[in-house]
Symmetry: C2
C-alpha cells in the first residue's frame, strides 16, 4: 500500500442548497480528496491555511491516516474562503464570494519524503503550480490532475504542457467540452487522451462518469440516491476514492481501474449526503463496501 | 414467446442534426418501438397512416416479425408528419413543423386477436386514447405506456387515471420532474411509482436510464458511443427493446427486468447511429448480443 500525495486547496466553505446551509465549514479540493483517499491508503496532504484555521479541523483529518505535516499555516494571512449557492437541481452553482487569501501566493514546496511519492493528485490549481509540483517528484508513477474552466480559458498553453506529462486527468463534462470544443463526451474523452494522458475521467455529477484508456471506454452511473444535500466536494472525493484505491493495489490492471472508478463513484455518493465532511466522518471502509454490493447488484443481468 | 402489441404514431419525419438531415423518412413512436421489439419477439403494430404512406415503408416493417394488419390507411387523409431540428448537443430539439393529419381523429379499434395481447405498449398519445386502448384488452398482464409534457400539463387527471391502471411507465427526465415537481430523479421515480405503476423507467438520453420497482432502484449508463447522428426514436426503441425482450422471457424475474433494461439501452444505442431505422435495418440479434458483451465488460469490477 503506497502513500498518496495530494496538493491543492484547503478552504472555508459557506454553502446554500435547497436543503439548508452551512457557514465556514471545512472544505477545499485537497481536503475532500485526502479524506476520500484515506479510506483506502495513507495520504500526505500539502496545502496552505491562514492563522484563522482551527486546530480542530486539522485534528479531524488526523483521525484518518492523513499526514498533515504538509499543511502550512501562514502567519498574518487568512485561509482561502468560498461562498456558493446551488440551484434547485443541484447541478448548477453560483459563486457568491471568493477570497483567495493564502492561496494567492502559495508555492508548494515538497519535503524530501513527499518528493518520493509515486502516486500524486494535483488538485485544481493553476497549471503553473501543478507543473511546479510535478517537477519536484523524484519518481512519479501515477500522477493525476484536475482542472477547471478558468485555466482552460486563460492558461491553455501551460495546461496543454501539463496534460502531456500526466498519467491521468479528471475533469467534469462542461470542462471536457470546453477543452475540446466537442459536444459528444466520448469524442471529447478521446481527444483529451490524445493530448497526452494515459487515461481520462469525465465526471458528470448525478449522471456518473466516463473513463477512457487505450483499452477501455467505460460509462458508470452515479449511485442512485434520493439524499443529495450538498454536491460540494463530490468531484474531488471521486478522485480521492479512485486514487486511494489504486494506491492500495498490488498491480494496476484494467479490472482494478474499473473497481477504482466504482470506489470513486461510491465515496462521492456519500459525500453529497451532507455538508462538508459530515457524512464521510460517519462511515468507514465497510460502509463503502456494503454500498459496493448494492451497486454491483444493479449490473447482474 | 408472446406477441407484443404497440399502439401509437406512425409518421413522416424530417430531421436536421449537426450531422446531416433527412426528409420524410419513416418514423413515429409505434414504428420505432415495433422495430426494436421485433429483434426479440413478434409484434403487432396498430396505427394510422394516410394515402401518402408508401407501401415500401410497410414492407420494411414486414421484413421483421411485425404484423402490420393493424396499420390503417385512411382514405383522403395524409400521414402524421413532424419536422424537427436538434441543437449541437443533441439533447435539445425544436419542433419546426407538425401536422397531426390522420392522428387528429384516430380512434384505435383492436381486432379480436389484438385484444388477446397480454403485453402491450401504449406509445405516446393522449391519455384518453391510451385508456381507450387499455379498455379493449381482454387479459392484460404487462401494459406499459409513455407520455409527454403536453399530456402532463393538459390532461393531468386522465393521465393519473391511466397511471393507476398501468404496470409500467416510461418517460424522460424532464417529464418525470414536471409530473412530480421534484428535481431529484430518484425521488421523482419513487413518487411516480406511488401513483400506481409497478415499475417506472426514467430515460436520460445520453446519460442512460433509471428504473424503479418495489425491490430495485437501478441506474444504467447509456452505451458510450462517439457516433450519435440522430437521437429521434431512441426512447421508443428503448421501450421496444425492453418489452420485446420481456415478452420472450419464460418468467419475469428481477434479473430478466435488468437484462430487459440493458437490451433497451443497447437497441437505443444503435438507433441513434443513423437516421430513421437505417441503422436498425443493418443489424440483427447477434449484433445486439455482441454489444451486450462489451457493455457487460464495463461492469467487471
Amino acid at each position: 500500500m503506497e502513500q498518496v500525495l495530494v496538493v491543492g486547496s484547503v478552504a472555508f466553505d459557506s454553502v446554500q442548497t435547497p436543503w439548508g446551509s452551512c457557514e465556514r465549514v471545512m472544505g477545499g479540493s485537497a481536503v475532500y480528496f485526502a479524506y476520500a483517499a484515506s479510506f483506502f491508503s495513507p495520504v500526505a496532504l500539502v496545502g496552505a491555511v491562514g492563522e484563522d484555521w482551527p486546530d480542530e479541523f486539522t485534528q479531524i483529518l488526523q483521525q484518518q491516516p492523513i499526514d498533515t505535516s504538509g499543511l502550512c499555516r501562514i502567519p498574518g494571512k487568512k485561509t482561502f474562503m468560498w461562498r456558493g449557492k446551488y440551484k434547485a437541481n443541484l447541478n448548477e452553482r453560483e459563486t457568491l464570494e471568493v477570497h483567495l487569501n493564502v492561496l494567492g501566493e502559495f508555492q508548494p514546496r515538497l519535503s524530501p519524503e513527499q518528493r518520493r511519492s509515486r502516486i500524486a493528485f494535483l488538485a485544481n490549481g493553476s497549471p503553473r503550480t501543478q507543473l511546479a509540483v510535478l517537477e519536484q517528484l523524484d519518481n512519479p508513477a501515477l500522477v493525476v490532475a484536475d482542472t477547471m474552466d478558468l485555466w482552460i480559458r486563460e492558461e491553455s498553453d501551460l495546461l496543454r504542457e501539463l496534460l502531456r506529462r500526466l498519467d491521468g486527468v479528471v475533469l467534469n463534462d462542461g470542462e471536457a467540452k470546453l477543452l475540446t470544443q466537442e459536444e459528444n463526451l466520448v469524442l471529447a474523452g478521446q481527444r483529451i487522451r490524445a493530448m497526452g494522458p494515459r487515461f481520462v475521467v469525465i465526471k458528470k455529477g448525478e449522471h456518473g462518469a466516463l473513463y477512457f484508456s487505450e483499452r477501455d471506454t467505460i460509462a458508470l452511473p452515479a449511485y442512485p440516491t434520493a439524499r443529495v444535500v450538498d454536491p460540494t466536494g463530490a468531484g474531488d472525493s471521486f478522485a480521492g476514492g479512485m486514487l486511494g484505491y489504486l494506491a492500495s493495489c498490488e498491480q494496476l490492471t484494467s479490472q482494478e481501474f474499473r473497481r477504482a472508478l466504482v470506489y470513486g463513484t461510491l465515496v462521492a455518493s456519500f459525500v453529497v449526503e451532507d455538508f462538508s465532511l459530515d457524512r464521510l466522518r460517519q462511515i468507514d471502509r465497510s460502509t463503502i463496501d456494503k454500498r459496493l454490493e448494492t451497486y454491483r447488484s444493479m449490473f447482474q443481468f
